[in-house]
Amino acid sequence: MSGHAFKEFKINWGMVIDLDKCTGCGACMTACQVENNIAPMVDASNKMRTLSWMLVFELSNGKPAPEAEVAYLPRPCMQCGHPACVPVCPVVATDKNEEGGIVSQIYPRCIGCRYCMAACPYHARYFNWEDPIFPKGMEKALSPDTSTRPRGVVEKCNFCHTRLMHAKDKARQDGGDPEALAEGAYIPACVEVCPTGAITFGDLKNPEHKVHQLSKSKNAFRLLEKLGLKPQVYYMSNREWVRKLGDNYAAGGKPGAEKKHS
């Protein structure tokens, strides 16, 4: 990984998703599709071809009836501190170099090689197999905040990045500091829409933001922590089996142990 040193930022935009509050309703997925101009598929049954920057997974404790339990896990892009997708991109169409640590994806630069998709262990990246087709009339309702993507490029969640830019403009207009946004000034669409308030969003490094404390609570964990990608998305649950699934270790492996990277 030489040449791709871990970049420190003053701000780390991040989420803490409380899996005990998530009901799996899917409102976040819908809000995401609207915000980011993802065209509805004519036939969405082929899950290899759907685009879902935010995807809710169902988890099960695998036990029979009386003890059976499920949980739902919303999966945006993890905006990894040490992204696996960035160093493999041959054309620098994806990078983690902006203050805040959001991993960018620049569609006109992308050549569609899909190395990044192979590299991402969270399957957070999606490939446009077709040009988007918006039902008649819907093209008028598209959001100006996200450009539409043509066939042949990769796309992914970017924490509704344009909302960040708007929040900065608002701060400038009000005479505030665009680099020190107050909690709640900038939140992605999925966070805004979640009816149970399961997703908390903010600057992980700012003690005034709730996520700062939440991400450090004893029930907080990150997905596949052992890979050392340092995601900026945290999960939390009071249920041990849920936390264990988060690290999905092989039978006999040690849960929660982070692999040391050289």
Binding site: E98, P108, S147, H161, T162, K170, A171, R172
Partner: protein, 182 residues
């Protein structure tokens, strides 16, 4: 013997050379004109006339409360003074009859419109002179011709990426892709 052969080859290639040079010249000189269609503004609006009335830029080009840029003023603004024809300039009559009175917004052409995937904020650039990115409009009596790329549909007069990036680099502003792209 060998020399003769070579010479034959030379003359044979001449038409190709001439053709090639002609094509290059045509491509260089004519094509840039061919690819752009020229358009004029729907109303022959003069910045100079209005600046001489003592109006300042911010009278018409304002920020909204959320810090976004309102851009070109709507009819509402123009009608403050042009609810009826006040002068003798025929351009004013065009505005009043075609747009002001019908309530139809003027389909102004925006020279600077960026492609869909670019995000720009006037708020962030408020401290700069308009002329560091735009032509000096205050002196503009006739709106410049608008050149539209026939293939992409974009304006020729937009600022290019290297121009944005150069100024950002000079001022120590981030040039991370996400700063300008969406």
């Amino acid at each position: 013997m060998e020399e003769k052969k070579q010479c034959k080859g030379c003359w044979g290639a001449l038409p190709f050379v001439i053709g090639f040079v002609a094509a290059v010249i045509a491509g260089w000189v004519l094509y840039p004109d061919l690819i752009y269609s020229k358009k004029t503004q729907p109303v022959n609006f003069s910045h100079k006339v209005h600046a001489e009335q003592g109006m300042v830029c911010a009278d018409c080009h304002t920020f909204r409360d959320d810090g976004s840029y309102a851009g070109i003023p709507t009819n509402e603004k123009c009608n403050e003074c042009h609810s009826d024809v006040v002068g003798t300039n025929p351009a004013e009559k065009v505005y009043v009859d075609k747009y002001g009175k019908t309530g139809k917004d003027v389909p102004w052409l925006i020279y600077q419109y960026q492609p869909d995937n670019v995000i720009f904020s006037h708020k962030a650039h408020e401290s700069l002179e308009c002329t560091s990115c735009h032509p000096d409009m205050a002196k503009n009596d006739v709106p410049p011709t608008y050149y539209q790329n026939k293939l992409s549909g974009y304006s020729k007069q937009t600022m290019r990426m290297w121009q944005c990036e150069r100024c950002h680099a000079e001022n120590g502003v981030s040039n991370a892709c996400h700063v300008c792209h969406k």
